[in-house]
């Protein structure tokens, strides 16, 4: 792994000497060729697979260190073991990240030499810092993982936790630096022209471009979502391969935690997406319109379909999981209604509206919009649908969390009624602004989405806050029977992981594709034979190839990891309660044998 990291970094450094870059710019042919998939296909695959591994190794440390902290401050050793298992996956996935990073540098330098030289001339110093931090991150990870059992007690454990925090800090800076390169291509500084000599471009103005910070935040959250989903799939595989009840219970719990992290962070992700979209529009209206209403308009229908699958599958996993929780039976009648809301929400969200239509199509529809679907396809309907889906998913989590709990506080009934009222009020506000949006101008309507989002967020925080107090000292209706999950629930975790990964590829295509035939938007034109931006079909095929490569490698890597260390199953029969329970206050993990 070290060799791979050193190789990648070495190549980076070699390619970045500005003087050399200038010579390359002057003499190198603009483009190289690659067999079978062409130059762009090669870069696409290398960048996408690298990004998938990078997202995993950046996302997992974020929740690994939180889980470790819960173990330390909650005094519960199970969380410590879980955090270590998360980190073990990191160690094996890290080398793949470095290898694909090196491949990406190779293909860029050999297939796009002139543009690569242009980029390196501008960003050389930041690339040096990147390489240095990459080493720092690698060694911090080794210390963090291999020092786990050595620095286990007292102050040394806290130092170990500090290593985990440092690992996240290095990783985040590395990601921010890499993001500056790609966002520069998307939204270069306004004073940059085609004839601007790259050595005269100020580094900070190139880094701090219009979409840099929105992409940073969006990716930070998306990495957590992605990491949680892949960890969930890993746990599902181990669950299905388990030979003992203890192992099955452990991986059932791990899968639940992975799903909780993925879906929990997914709920926040659209808000970061709104910000990014807004910044794209502010940077260049035409780019924003190309993205949302131009040749990419169908992409958002596919995205809505995928997110619908995520919500439905995530909720399905929870609903199946309620089968192993004593007391959950009382909530089962509500499931069909929640399913109905999710299905209707998905249908509305996936309704096309602003599409590029030719004159014949417009004539056939009787206007630029479909007479019926056009009403559902507008943002008012879509925002209403997605906010109600988020509320419903949150309700699923709440019911799951409360399934086997019996509150003992005197105000429990009033508290539950207040929570119910919060849901009704929030849904009412979302619906009100959804309907009102049809009667106002577009610019006013856009502002309504903020009120809808706020109504949902306030409801989530209010209900959770109240629930934490209400469930203090709550008695149990029975221990969760971890491990007693049907296999189909675990397959749902695989669908989640594949869907998240595919969605990531799709969003990557959207972000990169809106530059259209420009390497650097409206500054450096792509004159290669593959300068056109493909339609969604060929793009989807490419994304699927990347996802297949990623999961094939992940499967192999995790299998290797499994050879190296036997998983540490947590003790069976533990029923201690923890106030700092990771599962947002759900009854703590009770590893109960099936016969219990």
């Amino acid at each position: 792994m070290l060799r791979a990291a050193a190789g990648a970094a070495g190549l980076l450094l070699l390619a970045l000497e500005p003087g050399l870059a200038q010579e390359v710019m002057a003499e190198a042919p603009p483009y190289g060729d690659f067999p079978l998939v062409g130059a762009r296909g090669a870069v696409w695959i290398a960048a996408q697979v690298h990004l998938m591994f990078a997202a995993f190794v950046l996302g997992v440390p974020m929740f690994a260190v939180v889980v470790e902290a819960i173990g330390i401050f909650g005094g519960d050793d199970r969380y410590d073991k879980l955090a270590k298992e998360f980190t073990r996956l990191l160690v094996v996935a890290y080398s793949a990240t470095a290898i694909w990073g090196a491949i990406l540098v190779f293909v860029l330098a050999t297939l796009y030499p002139r543009f690569w030289a242009y980029l390196t001339t501008i960003f050389a110093p930041s690339m040096w810092v990147y390489a240095g931090l990459f080493f720092l991150e690698s060694f911090t990870l080794y210390l963090y993982y291999y020092g786990w059992d050595r620095w286990k007690k007292g102050f040394s454990k806290q130092v170990h936790l500090g290593l985990g925090v440092a690992l996240n800090v290095w990783g985040t800076i590395v990601m921010f630096i890499a993001n500056s390169w790609l966002t520069f291509m998307m939204s270069p500084p306004g004073d940059l022209a085609a004839d601007t000599a790259p050595q005269t471009v100020r580094l900070w103005s190139a880094i701090a471009n219009a979409t840099w910070m929105p992409i940073n935040i969006h990716r930070l959250i998306a990495n957590v979502v992605f990491g949680g989903a892949v960890v969930g799939a890993y746990a599902a595989y181990r669950f299905l391969a388990s030979r003992t009840d203890e192992e099955r219970a452990h991986y059932d719990w791990m899968g639940y935690v992975g799903n909780f992290i993925a879906i929990g962070a997914l709920i926040v992700l659209p808000f970061a997406g709104y910000w990014l979209g807004r910044e794209i529009y502010e940077f260049n209206q035409q780019m924003g319109i190309t993205m949302m209403g131009g040749f990419m308009s169908w992409l958002w229908i596919i995205q809505a379909f995928l997110i619908g699958v995520l919500f439905l599958t995530g909720n399905y996993y929870l609903w199946v999981g309620m089968g192993r929780i004593p007391g959950a039976e009382r909530f089962m009648p509500y499931i069909k209604w929640m399913l109905l809301v999710l299905v209707i929400g998905t249908i509305v969200w996936a309704t096309p509206h602003t599409m590029i239509a030719n004159r014949q199509e417009i004539a056939a529809m009787g206007g630029t919009h479909h007479p019926f679907l056009g009403v559902l396809g507008v943002m008012s309907a879509k925002n209403t649908a997605v906010n109600l889906m988020i509320l419903t998913t949150f309700l699923s989590f709440l019911l799951y969390r409360r399934a086997n709990k019996q509150p003992v506080v005197s105000w429990a009934k009033a508290g539950t009624m207040m929570q119910g009222a919060a849901f009704v009020l929030s849904a009412g506000i979302v619906l009100f602004y959804g309907i009102y949006g049809y009667f106002v101008t577009a610019i006013v309507r856009i502002g309504f989405s903020v009120y809808q989002v706020l109504a949902v967020l306030v409801c989530i925080f209010f209900v959770i806050g109240l629930d934490v107090f209400m469930m203090r000292g709550a008695t149990s209706r029975g221990a969760i029977r971890w491990g007693q999950m049907p296999a189909r629930s675990q397959y749902a975790l695989f669908i989640l992981a594949v869907t998240f990964t595919w969605l990531m590829g799709l969003m990557g295509f959207a972000r990169s594709g809106i530059r259209q035939h420009w390497h650097v938007f409206e500054v450096i034109r792509d004159t290669s034979p593959q300068a056109f931006t493909p339609a969604l079909g060929p793009a989807a095929t490419m994304i699927s190839i990347c996802v297949l490569i990623f999961f094939a490698l992940v499967g192999f890597i995790f299998w290797l990891g499994g050879l190296a260390e036997k998983p540490a199953a947590s003790p069976v029969g533990v029923s201690a309660s923890s106030e700092m329970d990771l599962r947002a206050g759900a009854e703590p993990a009770h590893y109960v044998r099936p016969e219990e």
Binding site: R114, D191, A193, N284, Q285, I289, M355, I356, L536, T541
Partner: protein, 265 residues
């Protein structure tokens, strides 16, 4: 375990197949690279209009807004009939050319000033072809080959190709002899969005209220980097101010405007 592995493999491939299949079933729209248009001296009006139509539905990206009814005016079938009367004293051909190259000068009531300067995307010849196409929508084509400047006279597409490293358009400058700030504000089309006395449109902050309230530094930054700050109450039009004034004005002209707006009148 073999059965479990096969089931997982089937689920992964099946899920990917569904997504790939759905994406391949929907209408396929690619974004093609704008082709360099070679227009000879003997080009006929109809040929120009045909080239313009291709650009309108393709490389120009016009259909992203026009024809959808909400973002920008419908043009197909009507633009040739309305172009001569949109602006008093401005002929059809001149109006359409101005709309494509200086879209901020005149914005039709009820629409936002979101139209980009097409010189950043298309060559001069292509822009004239678009004008011919738009005139042909219910009107008479008056564009001729004589309107089209010789090849290499400028424009993004003219500069494209071969180098892999160039392509952006350079914004046309304002006559450097002009130093009067009010004249500069007019020439730079600032009054298309800002009010100055009786002149201009109140889309952005009024120049009259700016004097003595904003520091020169702030005004300078707002001209060169319009997205750096957004004046309170104008969030809805944030991001619409062109970012090419730094290219259009000389340093002396910029400073003349800054001093004027900061209150040194």
């Amino acid at each position: 375990m073999l059965r479990t592995n096969l089931t997982i493999l089937l689920i992964v491939i099946g899920t990917l197949a569904v997504y790939t299949g759905v994406a391949n079933m929907i209408p396929q729209v690619a974004s093609e690279v704008p082709e360099e248009t070679t227009i000879g001296a003997d080009v006929t009006p109809d040929e120009l209009a045909a080239i313009g139509e291709e650009l309108y539905v393709g490389a120009g990206g016009c259909t992203a807004c026009h024809g959808l009814g909400t973002r920008a005016p419908d043009l197909v079938g009507v633009s040739g009939t309305t172009c001569a009367t949109r602006r008093e004293g401005v002929g059809c051909k001149e109006y359409l050319y101005e709309s494509l190259t200086e879209p901020g000068v005149f914005v039709i009531d009820g629409f936002q000033p979101i139209m980009p300067d097409m010189r950043r995307i298309l060559s001069e010849a292509q822009i004239w072809a678009l004008v011919a196409f738009l005139q042909n929508q219910g009107g008479e084509i008056t564009v001729t080959a004589a309107d089209i400047p010789p090849e290499g006279a400028g424009g993004a597409a003219a500069a494209a190709g071969g180098t892999g490293g160039t392509g952006g358009a350079t914004s046309p400058g304002i006559d450097t002899a002009v130093t009067d700030p009010v004249e500069l504000l007019r020439a730079s089309t600032c009054l298309a969005c800002h009010q100055l006395g009786e002149e201009g449109v109140a889309l952005g902050p009024s120049f009259d209220e700016m004097a003595g309230r904003q520091e020169a530094e702030y005004i300078r930054r707002s001209i060169l980097l319009p997205n750096a700050d957004t004046a309170g109450g104008f969030e809805a039009v944030a991001g619409t101010m062109p970012m090419n004034f730094g290219d259009q004005l000389s340093a002396a002209q910029l400073e003349a405007i800054v001093r004027f707006l900061a209150g040194d009148r």
